[in-house]
């Protein structure tokens, strides 16, 4: 399996192995659950002070076997929990009854994790995100596949559109790298189908410099970004990996600090099925580094760590301006009045008592996160239109500009201004103007997706960032929008209806300027010309006459 000649077969082998493992899981699932029962029985006996040596030995052995086998089916959390329980039952010295509540919670998590198998665990070999590669050049496709594999992703290499459809029957890719050629052979239909799947598959188009491809058509079909086909396979794989990572970034990230790996494993087992990404730190001295690396949305701190004072850690966190607003949830088995007071005095937002109960923990975590989400959305969104605000636009522009440099892709900026908007406001009141702005925002969001960014620039001005688009492409897409806006009838809350149009200027990165400042100015100049020429038109920067 080391030589490259066999590499192309890896996805097929992975599928076969996954199927065999699934069948094995079906045969042995009952056996594994019976072992969990032994652990439950032993803990119940321990609570009643009637745990005999025979049951204790059986519990140790079954925990040992669970530790050795559960992870093989993808249940690494279950293996870690079982290993902790094996330690508990090992030896001959009496077991400390104070360990029982944690142990009970661990067994419950273990059972829950094994029970979740039906949907996830047994497809362990397929757990890597799938990258679909559709390329006419089989050799190159194979090389891209190997590069994708090296990134820890699962490549699905196909030749042509029909091969891709066959592959799609058995897999759901996270990203597709599609060689668009000249856009013929039904490849754009394939792109449309990929975008229509649930969840939609992000399509990165590979374009050669010579082929004649209509990029606007490709974007209409749902292409999310363009990459030159001449990029090295490793760079193409890197771009695919970046998309997968970005999808991960959309999920909430949690950082949990606990010196006890089994508690961490329980936290992960309880929270990850809900779609949260949980990173664990067992050495508190790693905490600050982990904070910077993961930039979590919430921190879970265990207050029962013997070596470290969780309250003190929380206080330090609050004293640092970078983390002062980060939600902190404390976990403790001593929820006495003093502890609770200390928790809140140190600046923590909430606490949860051990043993951890999945539903309570999840509810408290998601409540906290929901408030954070609201605050973040408020900070980045224009409240009237729901579009990004100017600050968010600038952040996004910088990201797109870096991407354009790296992948040598065009990037355009468009500035739109609604025509005769002052008249709308004076004739129909500000409610009428607001309703019109909201409707236009809706039309914009329907038409500009993926890597496009739409923001309210101020007043009745709207800014667009169009990645992968030249100035001419941008003019065409914004003109499409203008046609749609002119067909719309705006309706005020008072029931009046009226038509609306806008004027726009489009400038291109590196052609009209090297930064947002220049590009805004050039687009604004073109916009002024468009207004002077009678409005309701879209002009590229640099055009002085109609």
């Amino acid at each position: 399996m080391h030589d490259s000649a066999e590499r192309a077969d890896v996805p097929a082998v992975a599928r076969d192995v996954a199927a065999e493992l699934q069948a094995l899981w079906g045969r042995f699932e009952g056996q594994l659950l019976a072992r969990v029962e032994t652990l439950e029985e032993a803990l119940a006996a321990l609570v009643d002070a009637r745990l005999d040596d025979d049951l204790r030995r059986r519990a140790e052995r079954d925990a040992h076997r669970l530790a050795g086998s559960a992870g093989t089916f993808g249940h690494h959390g279950a293996s870690m929990l079982a290993r902790g329980l094996e330690e508990l039952f090992a030896g001959a010295t009496p077991i400390d009854p104070r360990a029982v509540p944690d142990a009970l919670a661990e067994v419950a998590s273990l059972r829950a994790e094994l029970a979740s198998t039906a949907s996830t665990g047994s497809s362990h070999a397929d757990a890597r995100p799938v990258v679909l590669i559709v390329h006419r050049d089989a050799e190159l496709a194979g090389e891209i596949g190997s590069a994708v594999e090296a990134r820890g992703l699962a490549p699905e290499v196909t030749e042509g559109v029909s091969g891709a459809r066959t592959a799609l029957a058995g897999a759901h890719p996270s990203v597709a790298l599609v060689d668009l050629g000249d856009g013929g052979d039904g490849v754009l239909d394939l792109v449309r189908e990929l975008g229509a799947r649930t969840p939609p598959v992000a399509v990165l188009a590979l374009t050669s410099g010579t082929g004649f491809l209509d990029r606007v058509d490709a974007v209409r079909a749902g292409v999310r970004g363009f990459l030159p086909a001449s990029l090295a396979p490793s760079e193409l794989a890197g771009a695919a990996a970046a998309i997968v990572e970005a999808a991960q970034l959309d999920r909430w990230r949690l950082l949990a600090v606990d010196d006890d790996p089994s508690v961490l494993a329980a936290l992960i087992a309880l929270l990850e099925p809900a779609g949260l990404v949980v990173s664990g730190v067992t050495e508190p001295e790693r905490f600050w580094a982990a904070l910077r690396e993961t930039t979590p949305d919430l921190v879970i701190l265990d207050l029962d760590m013997p070596e470290v004072n969780g309250i003190e850690l929380c206080r330090l966190l609050r004293a640092d301006p970078r983390w002062a607003a980060l939600p902190v949830l404390c976990v403790t088995s001593h929820a006495g009045r003093d502890t609770i007071e200390a928790v809140f005095a140190a600046g923590a937002d909430d606490y949860v008592q051990k043993p951890l109960v999945g539903s309570e923990l999840l509810t408290r975590v998601t409540n906290r996160l929901e408030r954070t989400r609201i605050l973040r959305v408020l900070a980045e969104t224009d409240p009237l239109t729901g579009l990004a605000n100017r600050r968010k636009f600038v952040d996004e522009w910088n990201r797109l500009q870096a991407m354009a440099d790296r992948y040598d892709q065009p990037l355009s900026f468009a500035l739109l201004d609604l025509d005769h908007f002052r008249d709308v406001n004076s004739r129909y009141g500000h409610e009428g103007g607001d309703a019109a702005l909201q409707r236009i925002a809706q039309l914009l969001l329907e038409r500009f997706r993926g890597e496009d960014v739409v923001a309210r620039w101020g007043g009745e001005e709207i800014a667009l960032a169009l990645y992968g688009m030249t100035r001419a492409d941008g003019v065409r897409r914004v003109s499409d929008l203008l046609a749609a806006v002119r067909e719309e009838e705006m309706v005020t809350p008072g029931g009046h209806s009226f038509g609306l149009s806008f004027s726009a200027g489009v400038s291109e990165y590196k052609v009209d300027g090297d930064g947002l400042r220049d590009l805004t100015q050039r687009a604004d100049e073109a916009l002024s010309v468009a207004k002077a020429l009678g409005r309701a038109r879209v002009l590229p920067a640099g055009e002085r006459t109609g």
């Binding site: 030589d3 192995v17 094995l24 042995f28 076997r65 093989t72 690494h76 070999a125």
Partner: protein, 128 residues
Amino acid sequence: MTPPALTRRVLVVDDEELIREVVEVSLASVGGWEVLTASSGEEGLGKAAAAQPDAILLDVMMPGLDGPGTLARLAADPATASIPVVFLSAKVRQSEQQQWVDLGAAGVLVKPFDPMLLATQVAEVLGW
């Protein structure tokens, strides 16, 4: 391009049926190797002598003749002394691992293992 790996014959000794089956899937499907199994140390000794495998994957904790005991017997028998043995263990204590290597084990792999990677890991330990 390098030629395909030679077909290897590997004996898996583990009292647990689940582990034997998963190892078999991993080494046969992913590695393309021939896999023999034994459910106890005693059975393993007999199969090792008769089939002369290229390597033995040996569980540590088994009732009756346990892993280290089996290794000692394999090493004492001239018919099996030269077959490399890799322990497959759910215990991960460093000190114990060192003891086993001192006993003559070629390496130690940890359970649970990733079925997709086991063949590669075995090949790495043995320098295949």
